[in-house]
C-alpha cells in the first residue's frame, strides 16, 4: 500500500487514487523513471498502454517502455532502433565470417593433399579464404 502519491501523480500534481494505474510501476522513490516515460510517450498514452494489458504483464511493459524512453532521450533521432540496426549489422558480419570459416574447413577437409603441396604461406593469405569459399560454392 502506498503511503503517499506515486511518482506519476506527484509529477502530474494530482491526487493518487487507490486504483492508480501508474502507482505499482512508478514508485515515489524513482521520479526520473516516470519523467523519462512521460517525456517521450505522454502520461495518457502510457496509461492507455498499461490499461490494455493484463495486470501480470504491466511490470514488464513499464520496464520496457522506460528502457525505450531512455534510448530515445539519448538518441532523439533513432532511439532504440539505432541499436537494432547495429545488431542486424553485427549479425550479418558474423554470419559472413562464419560462412567463410566453414567454407575453408570444408575445403581443407576435402583437399588436404593439395594444401600440403602448395606453399604453406598461403594458409594465412586472405585471398586463400576467398578461393576456398568460391570453390566450395
Amino acid at each position: 500500500m502506498n503511503p503517499g502519491r506515486c511518482a506519476a501523480c506527484r509529477y502530474l500534481r494530482r491526487r493518487c487514487p487507490p486504483d492508480c494505474i501508474f502507482s505499482p510501476y512508478f514508485p515515489p522513490n524513482d521520479p526520473q523513471r516516470f519523467v523519462s516515460i512521460h517525456r517521450i510517450y505522454g502520461a495518457s498514452n502510457v496509461a492507455k498502454l498499461l490499461q490494455q494489458l493484463p495486470s501480470h504483464l504491466r511490470t514488464q511493459a513499464a520496464d520496457s517502455l522506460y528502457l525505450e524512453a531512455q534510448y530515445r532521450i539519448e538518441d532523439p533521432v533513432y532511439g532504440c532502433v539505432g541499436l537494432i540496426s547495429l545488431l542486424q549489422q553485427q549479425i550479418h558480419e558474423v554470419e559472413r565470417q562464419l560462412a567463410m570459416t566453414q567454407a575453408e574447413i570444408a575445403f581443407r577437409a576435402r583437399h588436404p593433399q593439395a594444401l600440403e603441396s602448395n606453399s604453406l604461406n598461403n594458409v594465412g593469405n586472405p585471398s586463400f579464404s576467398n578461393q576456398a569459399s568460391s570453390w566450395f560454392m
Partner: protein, 152 residues
C-alpha cells in the same frame, strides 16, 4: 509545392494544416496509418532539427509498430532476440575458428599421421553440428527481424 490536403497528422489532430506544418513532410495524407501508429505510442510534440526529422519519423514508426505488435516488450523484445542471435553466432564462429586452427596446425605439421578430430567441447560430435547452421532459440520471434528493413 505541397498539396492543399491536410497531412495525416493534422487530419488526426483535427486542426488546420499550416504551410510550414512540421509533420507534413513525413506524414502524407495518403498514409494515415503511419501517423496514427506513432501518435498512439508517442506524444505528438517532440522537436528535432529539420535534417533529422525524416529518420526520426521513420524510427518512430518502426518503434510504434513494434509496440503494437508486442504491447509488453515492444522493441526491447526485438533487441533481446537479436542480442541472443549475436551471442549464438559468435559462439559458433569461435568454435569454427578453433577447428580451423586445429586443422591448419595438423596439415602444416610435417610428419604425424592424420588424426581424427578431437572434441574440444563435449557437445561437438565428430560431424560438427555448426555446419548445419543451427538456429534454435527459445524466443519466438518473426525470423525476418534479422533483415527487416527499418527505413521505408
Amino acid at each position: 509545392m505541397r498539396s492543399c490536403s491536410p497531412c495525416a497528422a493534422c487530419k488526426l489532430l483535427r486542426r488546420r494544416c499550416a504551410e510550414d506544418c512540421i509533420f507534413a513532410p513525413y506524414f502524407p495524407s495518403q498514409d494515415p496509418h503511419r501517423f496514427a501508429i506513432v501518435h498512439k505510442v508517442f506524444g505528438a510534440s517532440n522537436e528535432l532539427p529539420v535534417d533529422q526529422r525524416g529518420d526520426a519519423a521513420s524510427s518512430m514508426v518502426y518503434e510504434a509498430n513494434a509496440r503494437v505488435r508486442d504491447p509488453v516488450y515492444g522493441c526491447v523484445g526485438a533487441i533481446s532476440y537479436l542480442q541472443n542471435q549475436v551471442s549464438q553466432l559468435q559462439m559458433q564462429l569461435t568454435v569454427a575458428q578453433t577447428e580451423l586452427l586445429r586443422i591448419k596446425m595438423q596439415q602444416d605439421s610435417p610428419s604425424p599421421p592424420y588424426l581424427a578430430p578431437t572434441n574440444i567441447f563435449n557437445n561437438i560430435d565428430s560431424q560438427p553440428e555448426y555446419l548445419n547452421f543451427p538456429s534454435s532459440t527459445n524466443v519466438i520471434q518473426d525470423p525476418s527481424l534479422k533483415t527487416e528493413s527499418i527505413w521505408t
